[in-house]
Amino acid sequence: MNKRILGAFLTVALGAGTIVGIGSYVAAAKNDSRVLAATPDGTLQTPQGNLPHYTLDMSVYPDSMFGGHGKDGGPHPDYVSYGPVTNFSVPAHSAVTITVHQYDSGESITNPFFAKVHGTMDGTMTVNGVKMSEVSPKTVGHTFTLHGLANGKDQLFVSVPLLYVPEEEQPESGYTKTPSVTTFTFITGGEGEYVWNCEFPCGDGTYARFGAAMSTMGYMSGHFNVVNA
Protein backbone atom coordinates (compact mmCIF):
# COMPACT_ATOMS: atom_id res chain seq x y z
CA MET A 1 0.00 0.00 0.00
CA ASN A 2 1.55 3.29 -1.04
CA LYS A 3 2.43 6.23 1.18
CA ARG A 4 -0.54 8.28 0.00
CA ILE A 5 -3.28 5.83 1.01
CA LEU A 6 -1.45 4.71 4.14
CA GLY A 7 -1.17 8.35 5.17
CA ALA A 8 -4.89 8.82 4.71
CA PHE A 9 -5.66 5.92 7.02
CA LEU A 10 -3.07 7.14 9.51
CA THR A 11 -4.60 10.63 9.54
CA VAL A 12 -8.06 9.23 10.18
CA ALA A 13 -6.72 6.99 12.93
CA LEU A 14 -4.78 9.87 14.50
CA GLY A 15 -7.77 12.19 14.31
CA ALA A 16 -10.10 9.64 15.86
CA GLY A 17 -7.48 8.98 18.52
CA THR A 18 -7.19 12.68 19.36
CA ILE A 19 -10.96 12.94 19.69
CA VAL A 20 -11.16 9.88 21.94
CA GLY A 21 -8.30 11.20 24.06
CA ILE A 22 -9.66 14.72 24.50
CA GLY A 23 -13.15 13.32 24.94
CA SER A 24 -12.25 10.99 27.74
CA TYR A 25 -10.20 13.76 29.36
CA VAL A 26 -13.15 16.17 29.30
CA ALA A 27 -15.53 13.44 30.45
CA ALA A 28 -13.23 12.45 33.31
CA ALA A 29 -12.31 15.98 34.31
CA LYS A 30 -15.88 17.06 34.97
CA ASN A 31 -17.32 13.73 36.13
CA ASP A 32 -17.77 12.88 39.79
CA SER A 33 -18.11 9.14 39.32
CA ARG A 34 -18.88 8.40 42.99
CA VAL A 35 -22.45 7.15 43.39
CA LEU A 36 -24.22 6.47 46.69
CA ALA A 37 -26.69 3.59 46.50
CA ALA A 38 -29.73 3.47 48.80
CA THR A 39 -29.53 0.91 51.63
CA PRO A 40 -32.40 -1.63 51.88
CA ASP A 41 -34.54 -1.39 55.00
CA GLY A 42 -37.27 -4.07 54.93
CA THR A 43 -40.60 -3.09 53.47
CA LEU A 44 -42.96 -0.17 54.00
CA GLN A 45 -46.77 0.05 53.98
CA THR A 46 -47.71 2.65 51.36
CA PRO A 47 -50.88 3.74 49.55
CA GLN A 48 -49.60 1.55 46.73
CA GLY A 49 -49.37 -1.48 48.97
CA ASN A 50 -46.38 -3.03 50.68
CA LEU A 51 -43.25 -1.85 48.87
CA PRO A 52 -39.56 -2.62 49.47
CA HIS A 53 -38.11 0.19 51.55
CA TYR A 54 -34.76 1.94 51.06
CA THR A 55 -33.04 4.80 52.86
CA LEU A 56 -30.56 7.48 51.84
CA ASP A 57 -28.64 9.84 54.13
CA MET A 58 -27.17 13.10 52.96
CA SER A 59 -26.07 16.44 54.42
CA VAL A 60 -25.83 20.06 53.31
CA TYR A 61 -22.88 22.10 54.52
CA PRO A 62 -22.24 25.87 54.30
CA ASP A 63 -18.89 25.12 52.61
CA SER A 64 -16.88 22.29 51.03
CA MET A 65 -14.51 21.59 53.91
CA PHE A 66 -16.15 18.35 55.07
CA GLY A 67 -13.79 16.27 52.98
CA GLY A 68 -16.10 15.18 50.20
CA HIS A 69 -14.16 17.45 47.85
CA GLY A 70 -10.67 16.37 48.80
CA LYS A 71 -8.11 18.08 51.00
CA ASP A 72 -8.89 21.69 52.03
CA GLY A 73 -12.21 21.66 50.25
CA GLY A 74 -10.86 21.13 46.73
CA PRO A 75 -11.03 23.87 44.07
CA HIS A 76 -13.88 25.83 45.71
CA PRO A 77 -13.63 25.58 49.50
CA ASP A 78 -16.23 28.34 49.97
CA TYR A 79 -18.98 26.71 47.88
CA VAL A 80 -21.99 25.42 49.77
CA SER A 81 -22.22 21.73 49.13
CA TYR A 82 -24.19 18.53 49.53
CA GLY A 83 -22.35 15.51 50.87
CA PRO A 84 -20.92 12.95 51.14
CA VAL A 85 -21.50 12.67 47.36
CA THR A 86 -23.94 14.22 44.89
CA ASN A 87 -24.88 11.23 42.73
CA PHE A 88 -27.42 8.75 44.09
CA SER A 89 -29.10 5.59 42.85
CA VAL A 90 -32.30 4.02 44.18
CA PRO A 91 -34.31 0.96 43.06
CA ALA A 92 -37.44 1.27 40.94
CA HIS A 93 -40.98 0.73 42.29
CA SER A 94 -40.05 1.08 45.92
CA ALA A 95 -40.42 3.51 48.82
CA VAL A 96 -37.35 5.67 49.43
CA THR A 97 -36.82 7.56 52.69
CA ILE A 98 -34.26 10.34 52.49
CA THR A 99 -32.77 11.99 55.59
CA VAL A 100 -31.01 15.32 55.10
CA HIS A 101 -28.85 16.99 57.78
CA GLN A 102 -28.84 20.71 57.01
CA TYR A 103 -25.95 22.64 58.62
CA ASP A 104 -26.32 25.96 56.74
CA SER A 105 -28.06 29.17 57.70
CA GLY A 106 -30.49 30.78 55.28
CA GLU A 107 -32.98 33.52 54.57
CA SER A 108 -36.03 34.28 52.40
CA ILE A 109 -36.43 32.08 49.33
CA THR A 110 -37.13 33.83 46.03
CA ASN A 111 -39.96 31.47 45.08
CA PRO A 112 -42.30 30.54 47.98
CA PHE A 113 -43.44 27.57 45.89
CA PHE A 114 -40.29 25.75 46.96
CA ALA A 115 -40.96 26.43 50.65
CA LYS A 116 -43.75 23.84 50.34
CA VAL A 117 -43.39 20.07 50.17
CA HIS A 118 -44.20 18.50 46.80
CA GLY A 119 -44.37 14.92 45.60
CA THR A 120 -43.64 13.05 48.85
CA MET A 121 -45.85 10.29 50.21
CA ASP A 122 -48.92 11.99 51.75
CA GLY A 123 -47.30 15.34 50.92
CA THR A 124 -45.47 15.78 54.20
CA MET A 125 -41.98 15.65 55.66
CA THR A 126 -40.61 15.35 59.18
CA VAL A 127 -38.40 18.21 60.37
CA ASN A 128 -36.58 17.63 63.68
CA GLY A 129 -39.31 15.15 64.57
CA VAL A 130 -42.22 17.41 63.62
CA LYS A 131 -44.49 16.46 60.68
CA MET A 132 -45.14 19.41 58.38
CA SER A 133 -46.04 20.15 54.75
CA GLU A 134 -44.24 23.49 54.43
CA VAL A 135 -41.85 25.84 56.22
CA SER A 136 -41.99 29.62 56.36
CA PRO A 137 -40.42 31.07 53.17
CA LYS A 138 -38.28 33.20 55.52
CA THR A 139 -36.60 30.20 57.17
CA VAL A 140 -35.47 28.10 54.22
CA GLY A 141 -31.85 26.94 54.21
CA HIS A 142 -31.82 24.92 51.00
CA THR A 143 -34.13 22.65 49.08
CA PHE A 144 -33.81 19.14 47.66
CA THR A 145 -35.65 19.20 44.33
CA LEU A 146 -35.75 16.07 42.18
CA HIS A 147 -36.95 16.19 38.58
CA GLY A 148 -36.33 14.68 35.18
CA LEU A 149 -37.06 14.54 31.46
CA ALA A 150 -40.57 14.51 30.04
CA ASN A 151 -40.69 11.25 28.12
CA GLY A 152 -42.84 8.14 27.75
CA LYS A 153 -41.96 7.01 31.27
CA ASP A 154 -43.53 8.18 34.53
CA GLN A 155 -41.91 11.33 35.88
CA LEU A 156 -40.76 11.85 39.46
CA PHE A 157 -41.06 15.31 40.97
CA VAL A 158 -40.08 15.65 44.62
CA SER A 159 -39.27 18.99 46.23
CA VAL A 160 -38.59 19.44 49.93
CA PRO A 161 -37.52 22.64 51.71
CA LEU A 162 -34.75 22.22 54.30
CA LEU A 163 -35.17 24.31 57.45
CA TYR A 164 -32.32 26.77 58.07
CA VAL A 165 -30.13 26.90 61.19
CA PRO A 166 -30.42 30.46 62.53
CA GLU A 167 -27.31 32.65 62.27
CA GLU A 168 -27.00 32.90 66.08
CA GLU A 169 -26.80 29.11 66.45
CA GLN A 170 -23.88 28.97 64.00
CA PRO A 171 -20.52 28.45 65.73
CA GLU A 172 -17.52 30.65 64.95
CA SER A 173 -15.74 27.79 63.20
CA GLY A 174 -16.74 24.29 62.07
CA TYR A 175 -20.31 23.14 61.70
CA THR A 176 -23.20 23.53 64.12
CA LYS A 177 -23.85 20.58 66.42
CA THR A 178 -27.59 20.90 65.86
CA PRO A 179 -28.31 20.63 62.14
CA SER A 180 -31.94 20.63 61.03
CA VAL A 181 -32.84 17.02 60.21
CA THR A 182 -35.44 16.56 57.47
CA THR A 183 -36.89 13.15 56.65
CA PHE A 184 -39.25 12.45 53.79
CA THR A 185 -40.46 9.40 51.88
CA PHE A 186 -41.48 9.11 48.26
CA ILE A 187 -42.33 6.25 45.90
CA THR A 188 -40.16 5.71 42.83
CA GLY A 189 -41.70 4.77 39.49
CA GLY A 190 -39.96 2.85 36.74
CA GLU A 191 -36.24 3.10 36.08
CA GLY A 192 -34.89 6.33 34.62
CA GLU A 193 -32.26 9.06 34.92
CA TYR A 194 -33.21 12.05 37.02
CA VAL A 195 -31.36 15.07 38.32
CA TRP A 196 -31.75 16.91 41.59
CA ASN A 197 -30.71 20.41 42.53
CA CYS A 198 -31.23 23.05 45.19
CA GLU A 199 -33.83 25.66 44.35
CA PHE A 200 -32.74 28.05 47.09
CA PRO A 201 -30.42 30.64 45.45
CA CYS A 202 -27.13 30.07 47.26
CA GLY A 203 -24.53 30.87 44.61
CA ASP A 204 -23.55 34.08 46.38
CA GLY A 205 -22.09 36.89 44.30
CA THR A 206 -23.45 35.64 40.98
CA TYR A 207 -26.43 36.80 38.95
CA ALA A 208 -29.68 35.65 40.62
CA ARG A 209 -27.32 33.80 43.01
CA PHE A 210 -27.65 30.75 40.78
CA GLY A 211 -24.08 30.63 39.46
CA ALA A 212 -20.97 29.28 41.22
CA ALA A 213 -21.96 26.39 43.52
CA MET A 214 -25.42 26.20 41.93
CA SER A 215 -24.09 25.82 38.38
CA THR A 216 -21.18 23.49 39.15
CA MET A 217 -21.69 19.74 39.18
CA GLY A 218 -20.84 18.07 42.47
CA TYR A 219 -22.02 20.85 44.79
CA MET A 220 -25.73 21.74 44.85
CA SER A 221 -26.87 19.44 42.05
CA GLY A 222 -26.30 15.92 40.83
CA HIS A 223 -27.64 12.81 39.16
CA PHE A 224 -30.32 10.65 40.74
CA ASN A 225 -30.81 7.31 38.99
CA VAL A 226 -33.77 5.02 39.50
CA VAL A 227 -32.52 1.55 38.55
CA ASN A 228 -34.25 -1.82 38.30
CA ALA A 229 -33.37 -3.74 41.48
Binding site: K116, N197, E199, Y207, F210, T216
Partner: protein, 254 residues
Protein backbone atom coordinates in the same frame (compact mmCIF):
# COMPACT_ATOMS: atom_id res chain seq x y z
CA UNK B 1 -35.47 28.33 -17.87
CA UNK B 2 -35.94 27.00 -21.35
CA UNK B 3 -36.46 30.59 -22.50
CA UNK B 4 -32.70 30.45 -22.74
CA UNK B 5 -33.05 29.63 -26.39
CA UNK B 6 -35.69 32.12 -27.46
CA UNK B 7 -33.36 33.20 -30.26
CA UNK B 8 -34.00 29.84 -31.92
CA UNK B 9 -37.44 29.25 -33.39
CA UNK B 10 -39.67 26.78 -31.50
CA UNK B 11 -37.22 26.34 -28.66
CA UNK B 12 -39.76 24.11 -26.89
CA UNK B 13 -39.23 21.43 -29.52
CA UNK B 14 -35.62 21.02 -28.42
CA UNK B 15 -34.83 17.66 -26.81
CA UNK B 16 -33.15 19.13 -23.70
CA UNK B 17 -36.20 21.15 -22.91
CA UNK B 18 -38.57 18.20 -23.25
CA UNK B 19 -36.48 15.99 -20.95
CA UNK B 20 -36.08 18.79 -18.41
CA UNK B 21 -39.79 19.56 -18.44
CA UNK B 22 -40.62 15.88 -17.88
CA UNK B 23 -38.08 15.67 -15.04
CA UNK B 24 -39.50 18.86 -13.57
CA UNK B 25 -43.03 17.51 -13.31
CA UNK B 26 -41.92 14.17 -11.88
CA UNK B 27 -39.46 15.66 -9.38
CA UNK B 28 -41.83 18.39 -8.19
CA UNK B 29 -44.46 15.79 -7.32
CA UNK B 30 -41.87 13.50 -5.71
CA UNK B 31 -40.40 16.31 -3.62
CA UNK B 32 -43.83 17.52 -2.57
CA UNK B 33 -45.00 14.08 -1.50
CA UNK B 34 -41.82 12.90 0.18
CA UNK B 35 -40.96 16.06 2.10
CA UNK B 36 -44.64 16.41 2.98
CA UNK B 37 -44.48 13.03 4.70
CA UNK B 38 -41.04 13.71 6.15
CA UNK B 39 -42.39 16.89 7.70
CA UNK B 40 -45.64 15.76 9.22
CA UNK B 41 -44.69 12.23 10.36
CA UNK B 42 -42.32 13.22 13.20
CA UNK B 43 -44.61 16.05 14.32
CA UNK B 44 -47.24 13.47 15.25
CA UNK B 45 -50.89 14.14 16.04
CA UNK B 46 -51.62 17.81 16.82
CA UNK B 47 -53.05 18.46 20.29
CA UNK B 48 -54.46 21.88 19.44
CA UNK B 49 -55.80 23.82 16.49
CA UNK B 50 -52.65 25.97 16.56
CA UNK B 51 -50.49 22.90 15.98
CA UNK B 52 -52.87 21.64 13.30
CA UNK B 53 -52.48 24.97 11.50
CA UNK B 54 -48.72 24.79 11.82
CA UNK B 55 -48.55 21.31 10.30
CA UNK B 56 -50.94 22.44 7.59
CA UNK B 57 -48.93 25.57 6.79
CA UNK B 58 -45.69 23.61 6.59
CA UNK B 59 -47.25 21.09 4.19
CA UNK B 60 -48.48 24.02 2.14
CA UNK B 61 -45.08 25.74 2.04
CA UNK B 62 -43.57 22.43 1.02
CA UNK B 63 -45.94 22.12 -1.92
CA UNK B 64 -45.44 25.74 -2.88
CA UNK B 65 -41.67 25.41 -2.96
CA UNK B 66 -41.68 21.94 -4.50
CA UNK B 67 -41.89 23.24 -8.11
CA UNK B 68 -38.93 25.56 -7.53
CA UNK B 69 -36.86 22.81 -5.94
CA UNK B 70 -38.08 20.46 -8.68
CA UNK B 71 -36.97 22.83 -11.42
CA UNK B 72 -33.51 23.30 -9.92
CA UNK B 73 -33.21 19.55 -9.45
CA UNK B 74 -34.43 18.87 -12.99
CA UNK B 75 -31.87 21.19 -14.56
CA UNK B 76 -29.10 19.85 -12.33
CA UNK B 77 -29.95 16.26 -13.19
CA UNK B 78 -30.28 17.08 -16.88
CA UNK B 79 -26.82 18.63 -16.71
CA UNK B 80 -25.46 15.53 -15.00
CA UNK B 81 -27.08 13.23 -17.58
CA UNK B 82 -24.77 14.40 -20.37
CA UNK B 83 -21.52 12.60 -21.07
CA UNK B 84 -19.20 13.82 -18.33
CA UNK B 85 -15.60 14.74 -18.96
CA UNK B 86 -13.03 13.68 -16.41
CA UNK B 87 -9.29 14.12 -16.80
CA UNK B 88 -6.76 16.87 -16.39
CA UNK B 89 -7.52 19.02 -19.40
CA UNK B 90 -10.74 20.89 -20.10
CA UNK B 91 -13.36 19.50 -22.50
CA UNK B 92 -14.27 21.31 -25.69
CA UNK B 93 -15.92 24.68 -25.16
CA UNK B 94 -19.73 24.69 -24.91
CA UNK B 95 -21.46 25.25 -28.23
CA UNK B 96 -23.00 28.57 -27.25
CA UNK B 97 -22.15 31.81 -25.45
CA UNK B 98 -25.49 32.55 -23.80
CA UNK B 99 -24.65 34.89 -20.93
CA UNK B 100 -28.12 36.22 -20.22
CA UNK B 101 -31.80 35.74 -20.90
CA UNK B 102 -34.06 38.61 -19.87
CA UNK B 103 -37.21 36.51 -20.29
CA UNK B 104 -35.98 33.65 -18.12
CA UNK B 105 -34.75 35.98 -15.36
CA UNK B 106 -37.90 38.09 -15.47
CA UNK B 107 -40.05 34.97 -15.29
CA UNK B 108 -37.99 33.60 -12.39
CA UNK B 109 -38.21 36.88 -10.47
CA UNK B 110 -41.96 37.24 -10.95
CA UNK B 111 -42.66 33.66 -9.93
CA UNK B 112 -40.44 33.80 -6.82
CA UNK B 113 -41.96 37.14 -5.85
CA UNK B 114 -45.46 35.68 -6.15
CA UNK B 115 -44.59 32.58 -4.11
CA UNK B 116 -43.01 34.81 -1.47
CA UNK B 117 -46.08 37.03 -1.36
CA UNK B 118 -48.35 33.99 -1.07
CA UNK B 119 -46.35 32.53 1.84
CA UNK B 120 -46.42 35.92 3.52
CA UNK B 121 -50.18 36.47 3.21
CA UNK B 122 -50.94 32.96 4.37
CA UNK B 123 -48.59 33.30 7.34
CA UNK B 124 -50.24 36.60 8.30
CA UNK B 125 -53.70 35.03 8.24
CA UNK B 126 -52.70 32.17 10.55
CA UNK B 127 -50.75 34.56 12.77
CA UNK B 128 -53.90 36.67 13.12
CA UNK B 129 -55.94 33.59 14.03
CA UNK B 130 -53.48 32.68 16.78
CA UNK B 131 -53.46 36.20 18.22
CA UNK B 132 -57.24 36.06 18.55
CA UNK B 133 -57.12 33.24 21.10
CA UNK B 134 -55.10 35.61 23.32
CA UNK B 135 -58.11 37.89 23.54
CA UNK B 136 -60.58 35.18 24.58
CA UNK B 137 -62.32 36.42 27.76
CA UNK B 138 -63.44 32.94 28.82
CA UNK B 139 -59.91 31.65 28.87
CA UNK B 140 -58.46 30.05 32.00
CA UNK B 141 -55.56 32.21 33.17
CA UNK B 142 -52.43 30.42 34.31
CA UNK B 143 -49.30 32.15 35.57
CA UNK B 144 -46.19 30.22 34.54
CA UNK B 145 -42.97 30.80 36.48
CA UNK B 146 -39.68 29.51 35.16
CA UNK B 147 -36.71 29.20 37.46
CA UNK B 148 -33.41 27.37 37.01
CA UNK B 149 -34.35 24.48 36.40
CA UNK B 150 -37.98 23.92 37.20
CA UNK B 151 -41.43 25.23 36.25
CA UNK B 152 -44.34 26.02 38.54
CA UNK B 153 -47.87 27.18 37.81
CA UNK B 154 -50.33 29.49 39.56
CA UNK B 155 -54.02 28.89 38.81
CA UNK B 156 -55.21 32.43 39.51
CA UNK B 157 -58.74 31.83 38.22
CA UNK B 158 -59.42 28.80 40.40
CA UNK B 159 -58.82 30.23 43.84
CA UNK B 160 -55.15 30.98 43.45
CA UNK B 161 -53.44 27.67 44.15
CA UNK B 162 -49.95 26.64 43.08
CA UNK B 163 -49.03 23.42 41.35
CA UNK B 164 -45.93 21.69 40.03
CA UNK B 165 -48.07 19.97 37.36
CA UNK B 166 -49.86 21.56 34.43
CA UNK B 167 -53.45 20.25 34.10
CA UNK B 168 -55.64 21.74 31.40
CA UNK B 169 -59.33 21.19 30.61
CA UNK B 170 -59.94 19.99 27.05
CA UNK B 171 -61.56 22.31 24.48
CA UNK B 172 -61.24 25.34 26.76
CA UNK B 173 -58.90 28.23 25.87
CA UNK B 174 -56.00 28.73 28.27
CA UNK B 175 -54.12 32.02 28.64
CA UNK B 176 -50.55 31.70 29.92
CA UNK B 177 -48.74 34.62 31.56
CA UNK B 178 -45.10 33.60 31.54
CA UNK B 179 -42.20 35.03 33.49
CA UNK B 180 -38.84 33.98 34.93
CA UNK B 181 -37.07 34.51 38.24
CA UNK B 182 -33.53 34.37 36.87
CA UNK B 183 -32.39 33.83 33.28
CA UNK B 184 -34.30 33.49 30.01
CA UNK B 185 -36.25 30.26 29.66
CA UNK B 186 -38.69 29.33 26.94
CA UNK B 187 -42.12 27.88 27.65
CA UNK B 188 -42.81 25.32 24.91
CA UNK B 189 -45.67 22.83 24.81
CA UNK B 190 -44.46 20.67 21.94
CA UNK B 191 -47.65 18.98 20.70
CA UNK B 192 -49.68 22.20 21.01
CA UNK B 193 -47.27 24.25 18.91
CA UNK B 194 -47.06 27.18 21.31
CA UNK B 195 -43.91 28.79 22.62
CA UNK B 196 -42.94 31.99 24.38
CA UNK B 197 -39.83 33.01 26.27
CA UNK B 198 -39.89 33.45 30.03
CA UNK B 199 -37.94 36.66 30.63
CA UNK B 200 -36.86 37.98 34.02
CA UNK B 201 -38.57 41.29 34.73
CA UNK B 202 -41.20 40.88 32.03
CA UNK B 203 -44.44 38.97 31.60
CA UNK B 204 -45.03 37.48 28.18
CA UNK B 205 -48.24 35.88 26.98
CA UNK B 206 -49.41 33.03 24.83
CA UNK B 207 -52.66 31.14 24.56
CA UNK B 208 -53.95 27.84 23.23
CA UNK B 209 -57.03 25.65 23.16
CA UNK B 210 -56.16 21.99 23.76
CA UNK B 211 -58.35 19.80 21.58
CA UNK B 212 -57.27 16.31 22.57
CA UNK B 213 -57.23 14.53 25.93
CA UNK B 214 -53.80 13.10 26.68
CA UNK B 215 -50.36 13.69 28.15
CA UNK B 216 -48.04 16.11 26.37
CA UNK B 217 -44.57 17.55 26.84
CA UNK B 218 -43.50 20.92 28.17
CA UNK B 219 -39.83 21.53 27.38
CA UNK B 220 -37.57 24.51 28.00
CA UNK B 221 -36.48 25.74 24.57
CA UNK B 222 -33.83 28.28 25.60
CA UNK B 223 -30.47 27.26 27.03
CA UNK B 224 -30.80 28.24 30.68
CA UNK B 225 -27.69 26.86 32.31
CA UNK B 226 -26.49 23.66 33.92
CA UNK B 227 -29.65 21.50 33.94
CA UNK B 228 -31.46 23.05 30.95
CA UNK B 229 -31.93 19.60 29.45
CA UNK B 230 -33.97 18.48 32.45
CA UNK B 231 -36.23 21.54 32.69
CA UNK B 232 -39.22 19.59 31.41
CA UNK B 233 -42.72 18.72 32.56
CA UNK B 234 -45.68 16.67 31.45
CA UNK B 235 -48.84 18.50 30.42
CA UNK B 236 -52.08 16.70 31.24
CA UNK B 237 -55.11 17.56 29.13
CA UNK B 238 -58.17 16.10 30.85
CA UNK B 239 -61.96 16.28 30.65
CA UNK B 240 -63.68 19.18 32.40
CA UNK B 241 -64.90 16.77 35.12
CA UNK B 242 -61.44 15.38 35.88
CA UNK B 243 -60.09 18.92 35.78
CA UNK B 244 -62.56 20.06 38.41
CA UNK B 245 -61.68 17.11 40.62
CA UNK B 246 -58.00 17.86 40.25
CA UNK B 247 -58.55 21.53 41.08
CA UNK B 248 -60.57 20.76 44.23
CA UNK B 249 -58.02 18.15 45.30
CA UNK B 250 -55.42 20.93 45.22
CA UNK B 251 -57.54 23.20 47.40
CA UNK B 252 -58.72 25.30 44.48
CA UNK B 253 -62.28 26.37 43.67
CA UNK B 254 -64.16 26.00 40.40
Amino acid sequence: MSDLQTKKPQWWKSKDVKITAALWVVLSVLIGVISGIVNSRPMGQPASETMANTIHIMKLFTWVSAPVAGLVAAIAIKALMQKMHFGDNPPAEADHQISDSPKATALWLIVSALLCLFALVFGMVVLQRDNNTLLDVHATDVNVTGQQWAWNFDYIDNGKFQSEDLYLPVNKPVHFHVTSLDVVHSFWIVQMGIKVDANPGYITETAVTPTKIGVYDLRCAELCGLLHAYMQKKVHVVSQQDYNNWVTSHGGTI
